[in-house]
């Protein structure tokens, strides 16, 4: 019981920090001291000071403002992608696990093929074909991301559909749709949601990575990966330009991974 309480406290603390991070991104317009896209030739590569707490970049733009606005782009794209992958993957997994048959076999072989390659390699290839852009980057990541959700949902559905309470619902005359919605889905939601939380960090790295390679957002839109790519040329003369977005990526990834772990620990206690 004490372990459970400790695990719950851990979740509350990490979730509060994650919420704070999200609020910073949502209220970037209020919190940002300067226009994130307005260049200013008078303040190029200025070190952190009172007016520019994280300094300025190569075009004299406020790094803090860009990091705050960049959070909007990065976090919104990550959450949207994880949510779509979660929804599509879980739906495919549940249907495959419940009905089985040829469609299940076919989709699972497709999943095996996608898993045979590193996720980033496929993402780079697809993003290249789609000519970059944030939508292209999200599609390219989404091509493989649904697989982990589908496999997890499928294996849980496979186990759940043979449970006696599902049989009892069948005897009560409940339809397949009712069973899927009110018995299978609620009972596999916890592990799949945990998976979604742990996927946030990986997705953020992937999207930032694609932007870093020029396959993500198109400048001057502030985005953490793109900001790191832009700043790396000046890493020796103006290291603060890279530290802001890099710290933002690291903190966000650690926070969401930790949140995923905390939820998993809570479920296991």
């Amino acid at each position: 019981m004490r372990k459970k309480k400790r695990a719950r406290i851990k979740i509350i603390i990490v979730a509060a920090l994650a919420l704070l991070l999200l609020l910073c991104a949502v209220f970037a317009g209020v919190l940002a001291p300067h226009d994130p896209s307005a260049p200013n030739a008078a303040v190029i590569r200025i070190a952190p000071c009172a007016e520019y707490p994280l300094g300025t970049d190569n075009l004299g733009r406020c790094v803090l403002s860009r990091v705050l606005y960049g959070g909007r782009t990065t976090i919104a794209a990550t959450f949207l992608l994880v949510f779509i992958s979660f929804a599509v993957g879980t739906l495919i997994g549940i249907l495959c696990g419940y009905y089985g048959g040829i469609v299940d076999k076919l989709l699972m072989r497709v999943a095996d093929v996608l898993l045979a390659f590193p996720q980033m390699v496929i993402a780079i290839a697809v993003a290249g074909i789609l000519n970059g852009g944030m939508t292209g980057a999200m599609i390219s990541m989404g091509v493989t991301m649904w697989v982990s959700f589908a496999r997890l949902a499928r294996s849980h559905t496979f186990a759940l559909k043979n449970e006696a309470y599902i049989q009892a619902a069948v005897f009560a005359g409940k339809s397949d749709l009712y069973i899927l919605l009110f018995h299978i889905f609620p009972n596999l939601l916890a592990p799949v949601l945990t998976q979604a939380l742990t996927q946030i960090g990986t997705t953020m790295i992937g999207l930032s990575g694609l932007s870093f390679l020029g396959l993500g957002v198109i400048p001057p839109t502030p985005e953490w990966g793109a900001m790191i790519a832009e700043a790396r040329a000046y890493i020796q003369i103006a290291p603060w330009t890279i530290m802001g977005p890099a710290a933002a990526v690291i903190i966000t990834i650690i926070l969401f991974n930790y949140l995923g772990d905390a939820v998993m620990d809570y479920r296991e206690v």
Binding site: V170, F171, G173, H183
Partner: protein, 252 residues
């Protein structure tokens, strides 16, 4: 004569690569209203296969099933559930772990929900009403099994198919569940097929018995008659082992 439930010439074979298992071979049975038919046999004798076939959970290779004289062979559990209900071995897992008992019971009904009737049924099986607001994990195995019995009644099914329903319970809980079933039978509320590997248990509860071995019914008859004069060697062996188990000498 029309029986409440009848099976004629039931056959089922499982084929798995090179292995063929005859699960049911020429099995015939009948169940009258208000009667409990016990099905006994060792593991792999075909008891559960018979129960699943009756419930429509698996397709028979051959044979016919009748409910009140009307054939229902080939019907799936969604249809057979209108007149029969399964009571599972592990009662806890027969309830959705996320649902409170009341919701699970309401779900089992095919008619408009009737919370008052649920409360009456819960009292009938000897449980307190407040347990209806608990999830299965908060109930003991015996309490869950009683809830499962209440659920079967709420579903308005006429026939209960009990699959080793007391074997996961401790001896005292088992005795209380048996007592409940006996009371329900006396009141004429219960018609059931009671599958168990324990012939002693079956003899305490059932009116008739069917002994199964290797998918075949080796003996069938009134319980008192079969226990007094078993005609088959296998039945004799089962009875002998039950007697030995009940009068075991202390070790050492």
């Amino acid at each position: 004569m029309t029986y409440l439930l009848e099976g004629k010439n039931l056959n089922k074979t499982f084929r798995e690569k090179a292995k063929t298992t005859i699960a049911l071979s020429e099995v015939n049975f009948c169940l009258n209203k208000g009667e409990i038919l016990g099905v006994v046999g060792e593991s792999g004798s075909g008891k559960t296969t018979l129960l699943k076939a009756i419930a429509g959970m698996l397709k028979l290779d051959q044979g016919s099933l009748f409910y009140n004289g009307t054939e229902y062979t080939g019907q799936k559990p969604r249809q057979t559930g209108q007149f029969l209900q399964m009571i599972f071995q592990d009662a806890n897992s027969s309830f959705d772990p996320r649902m409170v008992m009341e919701k699970s019971l309401i779900e089992s009904g095919r008619r408009e929900k009737n919370p008052e009737r649920i409360r009456q049924l819960v009292q009938l099986v000897g449980l307190e009403e407040e347990l209806l607001q608990r999830k299965p994990a908060a109930l003991s195995g015996g309490q869950c099994q009683r809830m499962a019995i209440a659920r079967a009644f709420y579903s308005d099914a006429e026939i209960f198919l009990c699959d080793e329903m007391t074997s996961a319970l401790d001896v005292s809980t088992q005795a209380r569940i048996l007592e409940l079933l006996r009371d329900l039978k006396k009141e004429g509320r219960l018609s059931a097929v009671f599958v168990s590997h324990d012939i002693a248990l079956v003899s305490m509860l059932c009116d008739r018995i069917m002994v199964m071995k290797d998918g075949k019914c080796v003996e069938e008859g009134e319980i008192s008659e079969v226990i007094r004069n078993p005609s088959d060697d296998y039945t004799r062996a089962l009875l002998e082992s039950a007697r030995r188990q009940s009068i075991q000498e202390p070790i050492g």
